[in-house]
């Protein structure tokens, strides 16, 4: 690509490029020609666009990162995708056994500037945006700048921030971050046990349970919107009913509880023996936890589990939760009548992560 430095640019079709409020130097025009798609900046000759790549990778509305002397195009934002996220940092203060995005301790504070730039190029009518990592709150005041930029450029966009909540044990940080957009931001905090030993074992940090609870109470005190996430695996399942009860009793201010099937990525793969349990073998615990919360008016959802492994009474709680770019349906789902309502599978899930209960659901099961 013909750029002198790393650039983050908005891709637009020719018509939209004419009416956008963005200055021309921020825009890459994507035009379809006989020879395939062509990218160029206004008034300049076309940038070379490697023909080996699938032209569908870049679409109008996307935001891309270009590097000098490289044909590498990174898509940072995709218009119309169900799950756009800002990647805040690779650093993390936990080391969860099933982390799908293992942390690295590099100085990647440059990401703050890139996020600020990216935020200004995202469609203002984007309904929601995730912020993830790493542990985003490790950015501290940097995260505050990011959130403030979101409120400036994307005032109608809901934010969902994945955090382990531990840093919010510091009331000052919570007070700095939460009020930036208290009602438009959801803090999604994982909790893996009702007792410290269990939670600390899963996140592999002593004292994490106490810090996370302190953080949750700080968030609750400030009126933040909180979602609790429990990842379902061999360590968390035995006490899942107790965890649900713990959440209801001790954290009644949370808005939503998500019980999440395991994503076979990162550390989860290397820890498969410690973590894997077939979902059909934990349906009793899952049903108990869901019923306990739902019957008490606590919104609860099941993520990442296909409908065919769940009993029908749990179907209304199952969500299509897997980001579209890593969401697949195997061949045998073709004939399934509830496929359109099903979470499907992680593309990374190989045969060793396959529930024995998976099967297409036939119309006959609904006919009587």
């Amino acid at each position: 690509m013909g750029v002198d430095r790393i650039e983050v640019l908005k891709v637009l079709g020719p018509e939209e490029a004419c009416i956008t409020h963005l200055p021309p130097q921020d825009v890459l025009i994507l035009e379809d020609s006989q020879a395939g798609p062509v990218l160029y900046r206004g008034g300049e000759r076309p940038l070379s666009f490697s023909d080996a790549k699938d032209p569908r990778i870049i679409r109008p509305g996307d935001v891309v990162r270009l590097r000098p002397n490289s044909s590498l195009v990174s898509v940072l934002y995709r218009r119309g995708a169900s799950a756009n996220t800002l990647f805040a940092t690779e650093r993390c203060n936990s080391l969860c056994l099933m982390c799908s995005q293992p942390p690295r301790d590099d100085d990647d504070s440059w990401r703050i500037d890139e996020m600020l730039r990216l935020i200004s190029l995202i469609d203002p009518d984007e309904p929601q945006l995730g912020i993830t990592g790493g542990e985003p709150t490790l950015l501290g005041p940097g995260l505050a700048r990011v959130l403030e930029a979101c409120r400036l450029y994307l005032p109608d966009t809901r934010l969902q921030i994945l955090t382990n909540g531990r840093t919010f044990a510091d009331p000052d940080l919570a007070e700095r971050l939460v009020p930036i957009d208290r009602d438009g931001t959801t803090w999604a905090v994982p909790l893996y046990g009702d007792v410290a030993a269990l939670h600390d074992e899963v996140v592999a940090v002593d004292g994490a349970f106490a810090e996370t609870l302190d953080g949750l109470f700080e968030l609750g005190r400030l009126g933040a919107q909180i979602e609790i996430r429990v990842v379902l695996h061999k360590l968390t399942i035995p006490r899942l009913p107790q965890i649900a009860s713990f959440i209801y009793r001790n954290l009644p201010f949370v808005r939503h509880v998500a019980l999440m099937g395991l994503e076979p990525m990162g550390f989860a793969k290397s820890n498969r023996e410690r973590l894997w349990i077939d979902p059909v073998d934990y349906l009793d615990e899952l049903d108990s936890a869901v019923s306990h919360l739902a019957n008490r008016g606590m919104p609860v959802s099941i993520y990442n589990l296909p409908l065919c492994v769940l009993p029908r009474p749990l179907w209304p709680f199952a969500r299509q939760s897997i980001s579209d770019w890593k969401n697949v349906y195997p061949q045998e789902c073709e004939g399934c009548v509830v496929r359109d309502h099903c979470a499907g599978f992680f593309a990374s899930a190989g045969p060793t992560w396959r529930s024995r209960a998976i099967h297409p659901i036939a119309i006959e099961e609904f006919a009587a």
Partner: protein
């Protein structure tokens, strides 16, 4: 009202939401439809909060009084068709740590439907579509009775391919399946828009904050996720 509903109401009143101030708005659409027996939910023990989406909406209602329709589904309309992305080795993306909890993100008040002027996602659905699913399209005319095909008026008379009875049966069947997945009981999924199915539609519409007409109008079809 059955004793279970009374108990559920009691539990609801004892929930933390009832005393948090935010939830003093009495749930407007408690599933009272259940009491007529036509839509007795298939859920065990979940008579009160049968549809978790409903519970979520109550919170949203409490949070922002103006409440748009079930917008968690609107992303389905524009979000399809990306499976081939990121296939090239030279393309990187920040991978989210977890999958996104899209369904429970509360809609911002007065949020317009996301227009995507230059982006038209490929249509995946192989099933018949009675009306072009543009947000501006007039509501799909309700079937006035289950058997009278003639009373079905397509929004665009010049539509080249009119729906035949088979298409309509299949479509109603998909609606029935969607209702079942969401915990309602439309009766057997036989493609017949029978009174029980209409009652289930009404219950779903009421719980979702839609006009509880029992008709398969566009907002309802979008909320059910049968238009993709």
């Amino acid at each position: 009202m059955t004793w279970r509903e009374r108990l559920a109401l009691l539990l609801g009143a004892a929930s933390p939401f009832a005393v948090s101030g935010a939830a003093t708005a009495e749930p407007p659409n408690l599933r009272m439809q259940d009491s007529d027996g036509a839509t007795a939910p298939t859920l065990r023990r979940l008579d009160f909060w049968g549809d978790p989406a409903h519970a979520g909406h109550l919170l949203q209602l409490a949070g922002h009084r103006s409440h748009s329709s079930h917008s968690s589904h609107s992303s389905h309309v524009s979000g399809a068709g990306h499976s081939s992305h990121y296939s090239g080795s030279s393309v990187t993306t920040p991978a989210p740590l977890y999958s996104p909890p899209a369904p429970y993100v509360a809609p911002r008040p007065a949020k317009p439907a996301t227009p995507t002027p230059l982006y038209s996602p490929p249509v995946r659905s192989a099933a018949p579509r009675p009306a072009a699913p543009t947000t501006r399209a007039p509501a799909l005319q309700p079937f006035s009775s289950s058997s009278s095909v003639n009373s079905f008026v397509a929004p665009r008379p010049a539509e080249p391919s009119r729906l035949n009875q088979d298409d309509i049966t299949k479509f109603v069947q998909r609606v029935q399946i969607a209702l079942m997945v969401k915990g309602y009981d439309p009766g057997p999924a036989d493609g017949d828009l029978k009174p029980q199915t209409r009652e289930a539609l009404r219950a779903f519409q009421a719980a979702t904050g839609l006009n509880a007409s029992g008709n398969m109008d566009m907002p309802t079809l979008h909320a059910l996720g049968v238009l993709k």
